[in-house]
């Protein structure tokens, strides 16, 4: 992993200090991550309401999760949301970054403004925007929590507002690293601005594009605070003989509601959903990373 081995003058005396240097982090990591993670995997195969009463029940939780309509709905809803927000955020962020690296007046000020929403937490963002949307929609006799189409696009607008500035920073760093002489050379060869952008600039910022698509996709899938604060999953569709569906509920919120809803018997199902969610998020990230890395090499 780390090619260069340090000399023995440092390494040998340091080894004995492992308890001090690695001890605190290992202990905290065991409490805060390793143990809950292992226990989480185990509990996904159990029926439980508290942890102490866990009884092994095989794949029943997973079957219950996959046959839960609200979970399936949340999955497709989240996937759609993640893809739409990925495209919008990245296109807009790249456009803004491109304009701000053209040497226009006030670039630094614009950058400051666009990044600002990132410092505001998701819960607060959700309530700010719910006030704004309801301020508009109340004139038409409706509300963001009454119409799932408004709920979807409202959340998209909110996420664009928050994330464009973040992705913009990464794109600006990428654009500034494009060699100036390559662009000059393209210009001398008679390339139009548009051609230069597609054939020179974009291939050169592929690493930034990789990072940003990866980030916005996983951010979209993991979204929780904003979803909870803006619509909380409303409106609800009641179904005959089946569980009601919260139309704007995303995966993370669905898992949360299954865990802490009134039906404590569903906690095993909730943990199974959480494992599925983990596999999805981790898998997506890795697959996309592998794909875009391969593209980079080709260019």
């Amino acid at each position: 992993m780390f090619k260069k081995k340090s000399g023995s003058t440092l390494r040998r005396p340091l080894r004995k200090w492992g308890l001090l240097f690695l001890g605190p982090i290992t202990a905290a990591f065991a409490i805060g991550f390793i143990w809950p993670f292992i226990q989480g995997i185990y509990l996904s195969f159990c029926k439980f309401t508290l942890i102490s009463d866990a009884n092994f029940n095989g794949f029943n939780n997973y079957m219950a999760a996959f046959s839960d309509e609200s979970f399936v709905h949340a999955f497709w809803y989240t996937a759609l949301f993640a893809i739409v927000s990925l495209v919008l955020i990245n296109v807009l962020a790249f456009a803004v970054a491109y304009i701000l690296t053209q040497g226009i007046k006030g670039s630094n000020l614009f950058r400051t403004v666009f990044f600002m929403p990132n410092l505001i937490g998701g819960i607060v963002l959700g309530y700010i925007w719910s006030m704004i949307f309801d301020g508009i929609l109340s004139h038409f006799g409706t509300s963001i929590v009454l119409n799932s189409t408004f709920g979807f696009w409202g959340l998209i607008i909110l996420m664009c507002w928050q994330q464009i500035g973040y992705m913009m920073i990464i794109y600006i760093a990428g654009l500034n690293a494009v060699p100036e002489d390559m662009i000059e050379a393209a210009k001398i060869d008679g390339a139009t601005k548009w051609q230069t952008l597609w054939k020179v600039t974009i291939p050169n910022v592929m690493p930034s594009i990789t990072i940003c698509t990866f980030l916005s996709l996983t951010n979209g899938f993991k979204l929780f605070d904003q979803n909870l604060a803006l619509t909380g999953g409303l409106p609800i569709i009641m179904q005959k003989g089946a569980s009601p569906i919260k139309t704007t509920e995303m995966l993370a919120l669905n898992i949360y509601n299954t865990f802490y809803g009134s039906n404590t018997a569903a906690r095993g199902t909730a943990q199974a959903k959480a494992v599925i969610f983990f596999v999805l998020v981790a898998g997506l990230g890795l697959a996309q990373l592998a794909y875009t890395r391969r593209k980079e090499v080709q260019q």
Binding site: R15, W17, T101, G121, G122, I170, A252, F259
Partner: protein
């Protein structure tokens, strides 16, 4: 912005190009104004009487809508919980967690790179792995573990943050430590410095740029985090700012929107001041941390 300078100095621009840039500048100015409108809406509505917030959201709080500082005064004790307590708990949790993370993960990262034993590798890869695990995966078991170990107070929850947030910090510190030449530390060690002194007098100062980046990312994360403290803390006793605001809005019944906006305003003012003061470091930190999933 070296590139912008170069672009500004290097080329003689045709009048049409200059004009194009002016137009772009104007368009971006308009977009910027639209961009800050949501925050202005919070400001405006925090001085507005509750009944008008929903009907006249975008009007200035004039005449009969003007509430003065009533919303702020009301907000202070809103929800039968003093807001100032939430602020204090948020500050305590954020500061202790960030300090713990910076100290212990940088120590661990140095040890991991320099000793490079099998155990080090296992810890390192587990940390990297933890970065792709969503919180929902561990939330139930983590909150139960925290309860069992009495880690449910603002003074002890930083241990949870140290554990769950170690991934990114270790990852970033390891990346940086690998770029530091080992010779300086070896010289210190030959001169009779023990590992602890070598770390604090030689390594620690060199880590400063990464410390700032990691510190800013952790501050932004912990300060705004909602679900982890909500599940771990005893919320009748301890509420952070996001929990407090969620509690006000989420509880059914009549929600006083004016007072909620006043509290939101009080909650984001320190954040905006912090941003304007450390803008350069924040943007650098974000760019450095972007590798995280």
């Amino acid at each position: 912005m070296t590139k912008e300078d170069a672009a500004a100095l290097g080329k003689v621009k045709s009048p049409s190009r200059k004009k194009g840039k002016m137009i772009l500048s104007i368009i971006m100015s308009i977009i910027s104004i639209v961009y800050v409108l949501p925050v202005l809406a919070v400001l405006v509505n925090s001085f507005k009487l509750n009944t008008y917030v929903k009907t006249d959201t975008f009007a200035l709080p004039l005449d009969e809508m003007w509430a003065g500082f009533d919303n702020f005064i009301k907000g202070m004790t809103f929800g039968n919980y003093p807001f100032i307590k939430s602020v204090l708990y948020s500050v305590v949790i954020t500061l202790i967690s960030t300090a713990l993370i910076l100290l212990f993960t940088s120590m661990a990262a140095w040890y991991v790179v320099r000793v490079d034993s099998l155990f080090c590798k296992v810890i390192y890869y587990l940390c990297v792995f933890s970065m792709v695990v969503p919180f929902q995966m561990v939330m139930f078991t983590l909150s139960k573990t925290a309860d069992n170990l009495n880690l449910n107070t603002p003074w002890t929850i930083p241990i949870i943050y140290l554990g769950f947030g170690a991934g990114l910090a270790i990852f970033m510190f390891v990346g940086f430590v690998k770029s530091i030449p080992v010779e300086i530390e070896e010289a210190a060690s030959i001169d009779g410095c023990g590992p602890l002194r070598t770390y604090f007098t030689v390594v620690f100062p060199m880590l400063k740029p990464t410390m700032i980046s990691v510190g800013i990312l952790e501050i932004m994360w912990v300060w705004n985090d909602y679900l982890l403290p909500y599940l771990v803390l005893d919320i009748n006793e301890y509420r952070t700012i996001p929990i407090h605001i969620q509690y006000l809005k989420g509880s059914y019944g009549t929600v006083d929107l004016g007072a909620t906006m006043a509290l939101i305003l009080l909650g984001i003012i320190p954040v905006i001041i912090f941003y304007l003061l450390c803008q350069k470091h924040i943007i650098k930190g974000v760019a450095a941390g972007a590798v995280k999933g």
